[in-house]
C-alpha cells in the first residue's frame, strides 16, 4: 500500500551550498531516508537541467519522479509530506507567517550582505557591506529573543523554520569572520545568537551534514578571488 511518503527520495546538491544544507537538515529531522547526489558542475549537469530547467540550480528534491525546487520550498514540502517527526513550521498561522517572513529576510538581506562582503572590490565597499551585515545580525538577535521566548531555538525547544534558514548561513558567516576579522555573531553584541549557534551545530539533525569550516574556507578562497580572501 504505497504511502506517498514511502516513494523514493533523491536530493541533488553541492556540499558548500547553505541552501542544500537546509534541505538535508529538514530531511534528517524527519528521519527521511534519501539518496544524496553531489553535483560537481551544476550548469552542465544533465540531471539539474532536466529537473530545474527554469533556474538550473540545486538543491532539487526528487520525490518519486517529481522535482521540488528552491530550498525553503523544499523544507516546507518535507514538513508537509512527512507528518511524523517534529514539525518544522509552527502550527499557529500567525507564527507561521512570522517564520516565513524572517526566512525571506534572511535570503534577501542577510545572504546578499554575506555575498556583498565576499565580493567587495575595495575597502570602502567592504566597510559598507560589513555594516549592512551587522545590522542584519542585530535584527536577527532581536527576532531570536522574541521567537525563542527563553528556550533554545527560534522554533522553541526544537529547531524550526527560522533555525534552519539562518543556521545554514553559519558556515559562510564563520568563513567571513576568519577573513574579515569581524565577529558577526558576537558574545556581547548578539549573545542570544552566539549561544544558539553552538546548540544548532550540536543538533543531531545538523551535526552530520554541516560542512567542515576549513574546507569551506578553502572553497571560498578559490571561488572568490577578491581582496578579502588574499
Amino acid at each position: 500500500m504505497g504511502l506517498i511518503s514511502d516513494e523514493y527520495v533523491r536530493l541533488l546538491g553541492a556540499w558548500p551550498s547553505p541552501f542544500v544544507l537546509r534541505t538535508r537538515i529538514a530531511l534528517n529531522l524527519k528521519r527521511v531516508p534519501y539518496e544524496y547526489l553531489e553535483e560537481e558542475d551544476t550548469l552542465n549537469s544533465e540531471s539539474v537541467l532536466n529537473y530545474n530547467p527554469v533556474h538550473k540550480q540545486i538543491p532539487i528534491l526528487i520525490h518519486g519522479n517529481k522535482p521540488i525546487r528552491e530550498s525553503l520550498n523544499i523544507v516546507m514540502y518535507v514538513d508537509e509530506t512527512w507528518l511524523s517527526g517534529p514539525p518544522i513550521l509552527p502550527s499557529d498561522p500567525f507564527d507561521r507567517a512570522v517564520a516565513r517572513f524572517w526566512d525571506v529576510y534572511i535570503d534577501e538581506h542577510c545572504f546578499t550582505s554575506i555575498n556583498g562582503v565576499a565580493v567587495a572590490k575595495d575597502e570602502e565597499e567592504r566597510k559598507a557591506a560589513v555594516a549592512k551585515l551587522e545590522m542584519c545580525m542585530a535584527l536577527l538577535e532581536e527576532t531570536f529573543q522574541e521567537c525563542s521566548k527563553g528556550r533554545g531555538f527560534f522554533g522553541g525547544d526544537n529547531i524550526g523554520f527560522i533555525d534552519i534558514g539562518f543556521g545554514s548561513m553559519l558556515g559562510p558567516l564563520k568563513v567571513l569572520e576568519k577573513f574579515s576579522g569581524v565577529k558577526f555573531i558576537h558574545p556581547e553584541k548578539t549573545p542570544g545568537l552566539f549561544h544558539w549557534a553552538d546548540r544548532f551545530y550540536a543538533h543531531e539533525a545538523v551535526k552530520p551534514v554541516m560542512p567542515d569550516i576549513e574546507k569551506l574556507v578553502e572553497f571560498a578562497r578559490l571561488k572568490f578571488n577578491t581582496s578579502i580572501f588574499k
Binding site: 527554469v54 520525490h63 517529481k66 521540488i68 525546487r69 528552491e70 520550498n73 523544499i74 516546507m76 514540502y77 508537509e80 509530506t81 498561522p93 500567525f94 507561521r96 507567517a97 516565513r100 517572513f101 525571506v104 529576510y105 535584527l139
Partner: protein, 247 residues
Amino acid sequence: MGETEEVKLLGVWYSPYAIRPKIALRLKSVDYDYFEEDLFGSKSELLLKSNPVHKKVPVLIHNNKPILESLNIVEYIDERWNTSGPSILPSHPHDRAQARFWSAFVDDKWFPALKAAAITKSEEAKEKGMKEVEGGLLQLEEAFVSISKGKPFFGGEAIGFMDICLGSFVGILKAREKLKGEKLLDETKVPSLCKWADQFLSDDTVKNVVPEIDKVAEFLGELEVRAQLISDFKNLRSTFKSNGRVM
C-alpha cells in the same frame, strides 16, 4: 461566534501587491477596514509601527498583529480562515510546492525583468529585457496548461494562489498595452494565458478589487513623466555644477 475579528489592510490602490490580500479576503468573505497609504507623501504611524523593517505595503493587521509581504499575507488568510471559502493553496504538498515555485518565479524573476525594461533608458537593455519578459510568459503559459488541466484557473475551478500572484499584474500588462501599444498578452503566443487573464478579471472576487485599466494607464503615464522630470533635473544640475555654478 465568539471574538470580534478586527482586520485592517494597509495598501495603495495602484500596487499589484496590495491587490493580492484584497482578493484573498474576498475569497474567504472576510470583512476588513482598508487604509490607503500615501507613499509619495508621508507614511502613516500605523504603517511605520507595523512594518518597521521594510516600511512597505501591503500590511494586514489582524487583532493588532501585523502580517507582512503580500504572498505571506495570502497564505496567512488561507490558513486562518481555512473553514471559509475555497482553499487558496492546493491541498497536495507537491501542488503547493509548484504554486510557491511559480509565484517566486513571477515575483523574483519575471516582474523585476519587466520593471527594469520599463525603466531603462538604454534601447539595448530594453530589448533584451522585454525578450526575457516574453520568454517568461511562454514558460508561464506552459505551466498554466500543465497545472490547470483544462480548468479556467491555475487553482482549478476557483481562483487560487498562483492566479492571485500572476493575476495581480494583469492590470499593469493591459495598461501598458493601452499606454505603449505593447502586447505582452498576445493571443498568438500565449493563448491560454490570454483567456485566463480575461476570466480572472471578470471573476466576482476580482472585479471590484482590481483598479480600472484606464486609471492604471494614467498612473503609469504620470510615473513616467515624474521619472523623466527627475532625470532631467539631475542632468541639469550636473551641467550647472560642471560649469561652476551651484544649484
